[in-house]
Symmetry: C2
Subunit: 343 residues, 2 copies
Amino acid sequence: MCVINVALFGCGTVGGGLWQILQEERERIIRRFGVEVNVAGVCVRDIEKERAADLPRTLLTDDPSVLLSDPSINVSIEMIGGEREALDVVTLALEAGHHIITANKLIVARHLPALRRLERGFGGTLRYGAAVCGSIPVLKIIDETLTVDRITAIRGVVNGSTNFILSRMAEGVSRADALALAERSGFLEADPRADLSGADAAQKLSILAAHAFGVHLPPERIATCGIEEITDLDIARATSRGETIKLVAEARIDSEGTVVLEVAPRVLALTDPLAQVQNEINIVELECERAGVQRYTGPGAGSLPTANAVVTDLLDLVASDYSSAGRGLLVEQLRPWSALIAA
Amino acid sequence: MCVINVALFGCGTVGGGLWQILQEERERIIRRFGVEVNVAGVCVRDIEKERAADLPRTLLTDDPSVLLSDPSINVSIEMIGGEREALDVVTLALEAGHHIITANKLIVARHLPALRRLERGFGGTLRYGAAVCGSIPVLKIIDETLTVDRITAIRGVVNGSTNFILSRMAEGVSRADALALAERSGFLEADPRADLSGADAAQKLSILAAHAFGVHLPPERIATCGIEEITDLDIARATSRGETIKLVAEARIDSEGTVVLEVAPRVLALTDPLAQVQNEINIVELECERAGVQRYTGPGAGSLPTANAVVTDLLDLVASDYSSAGRGLLVEQLRPWSALIAA
């Protein structure tokens, strides 16, 4: 049986969820893929901090280079967050020939072309299914099920924090109270500006558009308006007309063939599927030439939904035959059905 | 460059759409996968019937054995419909060592375990993403993104014909007129019983449950009630209470751990996401332990949406490395991103 040695960078919300899933599902992964996923090390900022009870302290290190230089490690998983430190880890891991999985939308949206060059240069694979809309496998759907279709437009509610706030305000809660409630419920970052300004949504839109249209537009270049200026009166007016306001990320091909990206609050009819998605739930709508209008909804964040998306990336790596990348990850062919028939 | 020789069985609505996509996207598939998909033959009942103008008549045959015995053919695609004839083609193709793709929910739902045994016995792969909910890649999502999650419940509106009829009735159209309208709009089969009785929905539910729960229950054993008995008065009553009636396919694990499957008309609040899906659109809702509640909507049938799902299965085959199955389908590793970076 193959063993895949995995290094985790960061062990907060997502990292903790990933550790939990990998422990709980160890046997199931072995049965299904013939591969043992072994966490060979966990790099954290503070090795003294309390962690999951079953996380052996011997796995912990605060020195990334220990894991990045370990020749037995095949896959690095970056869940640090932020930009500089995370980008360093992803870059160094790719340069070390690792396959790398990240949940970090900021570094992917900003640095995608450079990271793809590293991927090609060193033979590793970069995956980031968890970076956009948490539990919704929208990048995989675009890449693998709309492969030769043409996507003509994307609309989405892709930021859970602002959607939580707007959902409360639509119920009549004041803006100030809705913000406080979002903070208490854990739906706002310590620095909420990236959510409220639309920057977080723009990062996700940048990645979505790259997959759907094959063009990389850094989030800074996306026309972005957040919900900072949305007042109680705006919401009351919309409600009185049977409408609601959502922060909508939108990408479309205009009549001249140019891809146009925009993040802005939109007044939507209550019958619009985007208007019906409440709280921290995300929705992505794809208009396709052949597959018609597709819509996907699910939790856009959270420990286990996001960690499950990281596991999907990891198992996609396992299911691929990495012999050509020289990483010695050869495993038996994916046979998702064998379990069923044996039963 | 590799060539994959493909045999089409049936060239009606789905087959015609598939032919069109394969012609229009030939170059794109070559660029992306380094593989040319070549339609080596098309088996039809009536070779005299009018076909797409660009379908060479030399490709046509009315004798399946011509294609099934051709050693140059790697993949057979069954789009005949019905049961006996389609099952024969799928069985013979698997016995010939072909990979086989089918859009036929009836034969998959009824004969899945036997087909899986043939798959294991002869080394071919059976795929049927188009058999459930047309454009919605729900089987792929279950298999590849919820691989080690646990699905606890499925609910869906998975039959477009009955949803079209119930959508009209909810607008005040009489049952008789709604049926006539569905027929005129092409949403009813020549024999509409499988739709109206819920049998079609039960077939899809059987396949969904097999993937989600790993148990095969033939559709005949699923408790099924259709919409034959739904009257104008039933709909009027629901409407007057702010509710609606949908034909819901449901699978869940009960408190004793048993998988319970049922197809029946349900009275739903208008706020229920299943109530909001109109006309021929399908919705599938998955309750997952980790990924939360996921919902997917899209066209459940139609020539191009269904044909696109067949293409997805075909390109998944191409992207896999079939060296282990001895089919000589070795292709370069799937690199969906190379196009972007080259641009």
